[in-house]
């Protein structure tokens, strides 16, 4: 069953895969490490070597390929054939035997089940808000997590994305034909636009995307509670008066669940503090079991 949004998004990604790259940029496995985003490296260090990982909505596969370098079982799934083709080329170039790729539509439970296994770590970064049914997709990907396994969800924040939405509006109307302003907008987001390929990839993803939704921290918390996912932390942090160094502490550390006041304060702050990233934030948690179906424990302590 392909929805209208799904069709549009699929066409979009087949035309402009994300995060795009040309294969000859990577001459060795080492290059894959060097060019990785800082946060990808943090993720790589936060996940133990013997863990199995699935990257849901892996796109052109740089992150999942990086994670597979020192692990035995890493999967990447995506529903865009165009993006996945690039990921497969990357896999073949370095003969990454531990890296598996598959076309899967996450809105379809049967397709998800066809992966045939559950994972210790499920990453779903910057994907759910493009599906048209964020909550439904979230429920589906829990099928992939082992009980006790960890998940990471990356979404656009409702408030944090306001500045970017304004920029999108300006780029589509007043500055439609002004390339300099458009370049300035994208420079604001990724810092350096010397790399034209990267800049184009980001432009397509942020300014030309046919469908996106935005969400709040409270919403995600509610989903977590409802489906037996223990809340760990968010990046940027939602703990008051703390500025953790994620490079040292890693992610997936238990921290205080933010209450309403904290959520309001923090998300209000995100309007300017995350406007460069377009209000993108990550939530980390651990899946205990489905509370609604009765196989989850009520309290769970990390050993």
């Amino acid at each position: 069953m392909v929805t209208k949004v799904g069709k549009k998004v699929s066409e979009f990604y087949n035309k402009s895969p994300f995060p795009d790259f040309s294969l000859d940029r990577f001459n060795s496995k080492e290059d894959l490490r060097i060019t990785a985003y800082p946060f990808a490296k943090i993720l790589d260090r936060s996940i133990p070597e013997d863990a199995s990982i699935i990257d849901v909505g892996t796109g052109t596969g740089q992150l999942s390929a990086l994670l597979s370098l020192r692990r035995k079982n890493v999967w990447g799934i995506d529903f865009s054939e165009g993006s996945l083709k690039k990921a497969i080329a990357l896999k073949n170039k370095y003969k990454l035997d531990s890296y598996h790729l598959k076309i899967v539509d996450i809105l379809d439970v049967d397709q998800i089940r066809s992966v045939g296994q559950k994972f210790d770590y499920v990453l779903c970064m910057g994907v759910l808000h493009h599906t048209g049914d964020t909550y439904g997709a979230f429920k589906n990907i829990l099928e992939l997590v082992k009980p006790g396994g960890c998940i990471c969800i990356g979404l656009y924040n409702r408030y944090g994305r306001i500045p970017l939405k304004i920029r999108i509006l300006l780029a589509r109307t007043i500055f439609k034909n002004n390339d300099r302003v458009k370049e300035w907008f994208i420079r604001m987001q990724i810092g350096d636009v010397k790399d034209k390929e990267r800049a184009r990839g980001w432009w397509n993803d942020q300014f030309e995307h046919p469908h996106e939704t935005t969400h709040t921290v409270g919403e995600v918390n509610k989903w977590f509670r409802k489906h037996g996912v223990e809340f760990f932390e968010t990046v940027p942090s939602t703990v008051m008066f703390e500025n953790p160094d994620f490079e040292v502490s890693g992610v997936w550390n238990q921290s205080k669940r933010p209450n309403l006041m904290v959520r309001i304060f923090k998300q209000f702050k995100w309007i300017w503090s995350t406007h460069h990233e377009g209000g993108y934030w990550l939530t980390f948690g651990r899946y205990i079991g489905d509370v609604e179906n009765g196989d989850g424990k009520k309290s769970y302590k990390r050993e």
Binding site: S28, E30, D31, I34, K41, I42, D44, R45, S46, P48, R70, E242, N243, P244, D245, E247, V248, S249, G250, N253, S255
Partner: protein, 587 residues
């Protein structure tokens, strides 16, 4: 799999070290990352590096160790303030706030900022020093001596190390401290405390190194009473450090015949004699202690640590003037080095695990792959040439050195400790009589009296230097000064100190094969297999860490070429006006 992280901070030289299954796998000082010399802040960058190097986060660490017991130290300070009240009142007002909001709250920092949930252990400061040297040494049993400024209470301690246990038997307590005496005189001579003590040591040979003839020796000897067993007692009326700062008191100034010298003052005969007298007294005290320890402990091996163990002039005399037969010294003997002691002490002594680690080299800091270096050079549009292979690298670098060019040398992991040992070094030709002046003025911007250090392959050391035979291992870390044989002194003038000695670094091939081969190749071409090796920095700056630091340092100084991994960068072919190092050169 056991990981132990050691942390030292808030006094001087903060640092971090990481142990994995008994072996130290990463260690670095914070100053190298923050580019602030002797940085005392919480070593977050160093911790980040240690964890990154092993691809882990703090949650994978089993125990975090801290290099001293902050409450015990605070108790000493309070006691000191009470005892000397009201002289200490001003000092009390300025120092206590930092204790209350920072130094006593290390635990909170580890829990909140690092988000660490496991065990944190605080190790006695001198125990950390002792462990850093004994547990990293090749000896199964040895006498241990630690001497520094001051830890919690202890300033000097000795004991016995056996297997994986350490027993510190006796100690001398604050305020009687050789380290603080050295610091006080350093301040008197106008140098910076906790930093420039080695300059005073370098100045000493210009004075009269004879107890009978040096006029200052008799005066300065009044200040300290040394007993036969080496224990010493200071006449505290000459000092102020126990109630205010480390500046000498008026009484000491009168004794030495003049007020405290301003910064960068010219060193005349009197100053040289003061430095010499200080060195003589230090040597006398340590020698007596060592002789006594040998009597009590009856071991032929001695290991040293603590800031005073960096006194390489005396280190070179230990085997000749005391009954000990073998010696080992922690290359990073000052407070920064305690972190590896903390790691080893927790793993070997507290966890009771077998010793598997001997510190053979000091390359424990960050290293950069060829791809990373290339990526940096390309990104910044730096002009460079690539060596075809190892052979060509050695060949071309040798040619440059023989041609009296100054070469920056950037390979392997950054050195642990205050000395550059062939990973972040500046190399030059020692036969060039102008090299010393050139390096001092154009590159390092430092005092004229300071000599440069030679590096020599281990199998050539005895040919050129009057060393102990067999060559003791601390020479690998540039920790011992030995006389240069008379006939060679005039041939390598740039590395010969005024008294005909040289602070050599010996290099074994298994430590750093490329460096070793370079020196050998240089020897074949020039006739003398010795190079000048000085740390890759300018005065007042920490040793370079990243390719960017190295490039920047080269561009601002008189270094002609930079050999970084397999790339050769020529200063003249890159844009000049990056920055002016002379403006920045200071203590």
């Amino acid at each position: 799999m056991v990981y132990v992280l050691g942390i030292s901070c808030y006094y001087h030289d903060s640092s971090a070290a990481l142990l994995h299954d008994g072996k130290i796998v990463a260690a670095a000082e914070e100053e190298r990352f923050t580019r602030k010399k002797h940085d005392t802040s919480f070593p977050i960058h160093a911790i980040r590096y240690c964890l990154k190097s092993q691809n882990i986060t703090i949650q994978d660490v089993d125990v975090v160790g801290f290099y001293e017991k902050p409450f015990l130290k605070f108790e000493r300070l309070l006691y000191q303030h009470l005892q000397m009240f009201p002289k200490t009142f001003k000092n009390f007002l300025t120092s206590t706030p930092s204790w209350l909001h920072q130094k006593l709250r290390v635990m909170k920092k580890i829990r909140k900022e690092l988000r660490y949930k496991g065990n944190v252990i605080f190790i006695n400061h001198h125990m950390a020093h002792a462990a850093s040297t004994f547990l990293a040494s090749p000896f199964d049993e040895a006498a241990i001596l630690t001497i520094d400024g001051v830890g919690e209470w202890t300033t000097t301690a000795y004991g016995l190390g056996e297997g994986n246990s350490i027993n510190l038997m006796k100690e001398i307590r604050f305020p009687h401290s050789i380290g603080l005496l050295y610091s006080t005189i350093t301040a008197y001579l106008g140098f910076s405390v906790n930093n420039s003590e080695y300059k005073v040591m370098g100045l000493a040979p210009y004075g009269i190194m004879d107890r009978q003839k040096n006029p200052m020796y008799k005066k300065l000897r009044k200040v300290v009473e040394i007993k036969d067993d080496g224990s010493f007692r200071f006449d505290l009326s000459y000092f102020k450090y126990h109630y205010s700062d480390r500046m000498p008191s008026k009484k000491l100034c009168n004794l030495l015949g003049g007020p405290v010298l301003p910064r960068d003052a010219d060193m005349g005969e009197r100053e040289q004699n003061i430095a010499a007298a200080l060195q003589l007294i230090t040597e006398e005290a340590i020698q007596k202690i060592l002789t006594h320890i040998h009597k009590v402990i009856k071991s032929d091996n001695i290991v040293l640590a603590g800031g005073v163990a960096l006194n390489s002039v005396y280190n070179g005399k230990i085997l000749r003037t005391t009954p000990f037969k073998k010696i080992w010294i922690q290359p990073n003997s000052s407070d920064g080095g305690t972190t590896i002691g903390v790691c080893l002490y927790i793993y070997n002594t507290l966890m009771g695990k077998k010793r598997v680690y001997v510190q053979n080299d000091a390359y424990l800091g960050p290293s950069y792959s060829t791809e990373e270096v290339k990526a940096y050079l390309d990104k910044n549009n730096i002009k460079y040439t690539t060596f075809r292979d190892r052979q060509e690298l050695i060949q071309k670098t040798t040619d440059l050195l023989v041609d009296n060019q100054v070469v920056g040398w950037f390979h392997e992991g950054m050195e642990w400790g205050p000395r550059a040992l062939g990973a972040r070094s500046i190399l030059a030709n020692p036969s060039n009589p102008e090299a010393k002046e050139l390096l001092n003025e154009k590159v390092k911007h430092r005092e004229k009296f300071r000599p440069f250090a030679p590096v020599v392959c281990v199998d050539d050391a005895l040919t050129y230097f009057d060393c102990d035979d067999p060559l003791p291992e601390p020479t690998d870390f540039m920790l011992m000064v030995y006389p240069i044989h008379k006939k060679w002194q005039s041939k390598i003038p740039s590395v010969t100190h005024v008294d005909g000695s040289g602070r050599l670094q010996s290099i074994r091939r298994d430590q750093n094969p490329l460096y070793y081969d370079l020196i050998k190749a240089f020897g074949r071409k020039s006739g003398i297999p010795i190079l000048i090796n000085t740390s890759f920095n300018i005065r007042g700056e920490p040793i370079v860490c990243t390719p960017h630091d190295a490039y920047k340092c080269m561009m601002g100084t008189g270094i002609d070429y930079l050999v970084m991994d397999k790339f050769l960068i020529k200063r003249a072919s890159n844009p000049k006006d990056m920055w002016d190092s002379e403006k920045l050169a200071q203590d």
